[in-house]
Amino acid sequence: MNSAIRRLAVAAIILMLALMANSTYLQAFRAGDLNGRNDNRRVRDSQFSVNRGPILVGSVPIAQSKPSNDRFVFQRTYPQNIAEAYAPVTGYYSYLFGRAGIELSQNSELNGSDPSMAFRRVVDVITDRRQQGASVTLTLNAAAQIAAYNGLAGKTGAVVALEPKTGKVLAMVSRPSYDPNQLAGHDLNKVAANWKKLTEDKSRPMSNRAIKELYPPGSTFKLVTAAAALSSGKYNPQTQVRSPAELDLPQTTVKLPNENGKNCGGSDNATLTVALRNSCNTAFGSIGLDLGPDALRDQAEKFGFGERQLPELGAAASQFPTDPNAPQTAQSAIGQFDVRATPLQMAMVSAGIANGGNVMKPYLVQNIKTVDLKTVSETKPESLHQAVSPEVANQLTQMMIDVVQNGTGKPGQIKDVQVAGKTGTAQTTPDKPPFAWFTAFAPANDPKIAVAVMIEDANVPRNDIAGGALAAPIAKAVMEAVLGQ
């Protein structure tokens, strides 16, 4: 009997070892996965109770944690008067609905759990201090951001401004916007009600139109077509381009008309400069037919089309259609058909031209610092592509200056500053108002800012919509805000 009992003793030990082995797997190896789950209340609660670092613009917090007297210890707040202006960038920090924007992309730094702060956490544990997150300083320019936000008042649209030499995002605004405080509250029933209201709002206040949505870029895309033309070697700014009132599109009976129904500058032929000045559809349509879709797509991709910029914020990739036929190519050359771009992308086109053809990778986070001001990381500017040669960039700049001085971009003029820009009015469906665009940079000889403004809906009569009239004044205000400093 004893041998049987001994065998049972061994069996019992094996059972217990199995328990220990399984628990070891669970608690030592699988724990990371489980702790990363969205429905993990423990992790969420504990993060909600951390003294989360602030998000700064300059030295001003646009999101910060303040002590609260309830179970979460800290309350995330966004300064009342500017919260909506910054909402597309900060995002929200919600117990029930997770995080968005910088709150999401820099979460581990803000709550101090990032591996780069492991040493600091050990020190905190030893000294019995509460874990405190790092501060995230953004590249945004407060004046530009507020100017853009105010400029879009009452409209549906977005503004993106970049520093051409570095790729720093100076402004990123989307309207209508929302107040992230409504989602960060500790009264969870109220938060849930607010969320429902925001997500059901037809004006989609939580959508970040600056980077997450794609729009036909319309005539602003002519900058890309012009860049392709100049880069091809077949064109220079003085090259005569066919520019009748209507362009016969091959293989169809459809004609591509100019916006005003007239030919370009009084003749059926115009120089490239004049064609851009007057934003002639027929001229750029025929350039597109001449160059072919591959050259256009190639040029667009060098400006960043087809890639996700700021992927950490969930930005969309701008698109040039894959295989357009001839009439579609002519349409694409003027930013219609299936060409789709984000406001950020069009700002990058201007910024690339402003920066001698070198498109810089856009970024929003300037640096991350711990509470005792030790730098955890600092973003270095990075070149994305050389979109055009410096010579072509210079030619394009001169043509864009001409647009603002003599052409459709006049509303973008700034006193004593040379502005280079391009307007756009993009048609979608007949039942929707066209999109008004303006992209520009200034000063033209030493660019400090490149900007793109897109207006989806401005509540004005259809005939009054034009990029120059609607969007250019906003771009001007944003540029002035930066240059005035």
Binding site: M16, L19, M20, N22, N35, R41
Partner: protein, 465 residues
């Protein structure tokens, strides 16, 4: 000359009661320390109830110790401290979860439920009283053999009690509770004890028949078909428990116990194989025919399929604990459903981490192995079988519940011995430990020494030759 060359295990006839006292003091110290630690962490003060708790656990443990000194001086010195430590830690954790649930209730403007820890201390006292009764009244465990069939009948009655309308209640999908005079009992916990005595008594009588001639098949000695009777009955009864009371854990426990005892008494591995096949058959039947068993298994395979499922939340708690744990009072065990009963192991894993959980499993392992050692040393077959049965009931129970909570096997609602909130289980476990100690006293007690043989006698014997 070689008198010592026997295969009998020699256990030094030393009482070791002093060792037990030292271990007890450590166990009480750890328990009270845990209690105070929880108060300091959660409420920033030594809990006012510390005195009540320390006196409760300490006095009860010391009374049990004195009873052993008085009536079972040779009993195993490790079992009592292990049980006290588990019981003490369990109460501390139940208190900790009381505090957590209270905070949640206050945050949601609800009146907190009355705390469960004082209740558990009261049940500990009842358990120790039963412990004393077993140690003091049952002077020799062999007398229990006379109760074989009485125990078997009692066990069956206890098993079916919850099925009686008006008496049994359905709780959390299982009908294993009865409600009497406003209090709830889980009669299955005592059925376990009764059935072990019945199995042991029955097998002592029948082991020869069962060991005798069978067929050899594939190198195995299989018993004759008609001898398969008892195992068939055990299988059917355990399946009945499963079907009618929806109690997966208990049916596994009863069937497993009978199988183990059958194996020990006959030493035939064939029984284990037949039993294993029957178990697989029963399990497959249960999986395909019984809804809640099916659900238990699908929950186990994909615990995250249901939002906020009990197992999933428990697993996340254990993951949150990690290797070293959040620290007592610093986790959120109260977020898990039944954190202080079914899921108490998960609560410990969260706050004490993998390290603490392994320590707890090791304490259980110690109890199991000490119990089996008692069986090895026991001189009568009945005692051997009872000790094996009781020790293996711990092994099965710990494996089933800890395995369920940690996601190794499907979760079944067995109580975690000595730790989980629940009076019946606690009291029954104290009775089981008492019986094990009683048998171990018998096993370790020096045999009545033979009359000393003097050198003179030997010399005379040699001379006569």
């Amino acid at each position: 000359m070689s008198i010592a060359s026997t295969s009998v295990i020699q256990i030094m006839p030393r009482t070791r009661r002093g060792v037990e006292l030292m271990l007890l003091i450590i166990a009480i110290g750890v328990s009270v320390g845990a209690y105070v630690n929880i108060g300091l962490t959660v409420q920033d003060k030594v809990p006012a109830s510390t005195g009540y708790y320390a006196a409760g656990i300490g006095l009860l443990a010391l009374i049990a110790h004195l009873a052993l000194r008085y009536r079972a001086p040779y009993a195993d010195p490790v079992l009592l401290p292990c049980a006290v430590l588990l019981n003490g830690l369990g109460v501390a954790m139940i208190h900790r979860i009381d505090l957590g649930l209270e905070a949640i209730a206050i945050a949601n403007n609800r009146t907190p439920k009355s705390p469960a820890a004082p209740q558990q201390i009261t049940w500990t006292a009842v358990g120790i009283v039963l412990f004393l009764v077993v140690v003091l009244v049952i002077r020799d465990h062999r007398r229990l053999q006379a109760l074989t069939y009485t125990a078997g009948l009692a066990g069956l009655v206890l098993l079916v009690l919850p099925l009686i309308p008006g008496l049994g209640v359905n709780l959390n999908g299982a009908r294993i509770w009865i409600r009497l005079a406003g209090m709830s009992f889980q009669p299955g916990e005592f059925a376990k004890l009764c059935l072990v005595i019945f199995f042991a008594g029955y097998l002592v009588v029948k082991r020869d028949v069962l060991t005798l001639a069978g067929h050899r098949f594939l190198g195995l000695d299989l018993p004759r078909a008609r001898d398969l009777g008892p195992i068939g009955v055990a299988w059917l009864v355990s399946l009945g428990v499963l079907v009618f009371e929806s109690d997966l854990g208990s049916s596994l426990l009863f069937f497993g116990l009978f199988l183990f005892l059958l194996y020990v008494s006959t030493e035939r591995a064939g029984w284990l194989i037949i039993g294993g096949l029957l178990f697989v058959g029963g399990a497959f039947f249960a999986y395909s025919a019984i809804g809640h068993v099916h659900k238990r298994i699908t929950d186990w395979l994909d615990p995250f399929s249901i939002d906020g499922g009990q197992i999933a939340v428990g697993l996340m708690g254990q993951a949150w604990g990690g290797v070293l744990g959040r620290g007592l009072g610093q986790g959120r065990p109260e977020l898990t459903l039944y954190a202080n009963s079914d899921m108490i192991i998960s609560s410990f894993a969260e706050e004490l981490g993998l390290t603490g959980l392994i320590a707890i499993i090791l304490i259980y392992t110690l109890i199991i192995e000490r119990g089996l050692r008692t069986a090895l040393g026991c001189r009568d077959i009945f005692g051997k079988l009872v000790a094996t049965g009781l020790a293996m009931s711990f092994a099965l129970q710990v494996f089933v519940i800890v395995g369920g909570v940690t996601g190794l096997i499907p979760l079944t609602g067995l109580a975690t011995p000595f730790m989980a909130l629940g009076g019946t289980s606690l009291v029954a476990n104290w009775a089981i430990i008492a019986l094990l100690l009683r048998i171990s006293d018998q096993a370790r007690r020096p045999q009545t020494p033979a009359a000393p043989v003097s050198d003179e006698t030997i010399a005379m014997a040699v001379q006569k030759q």
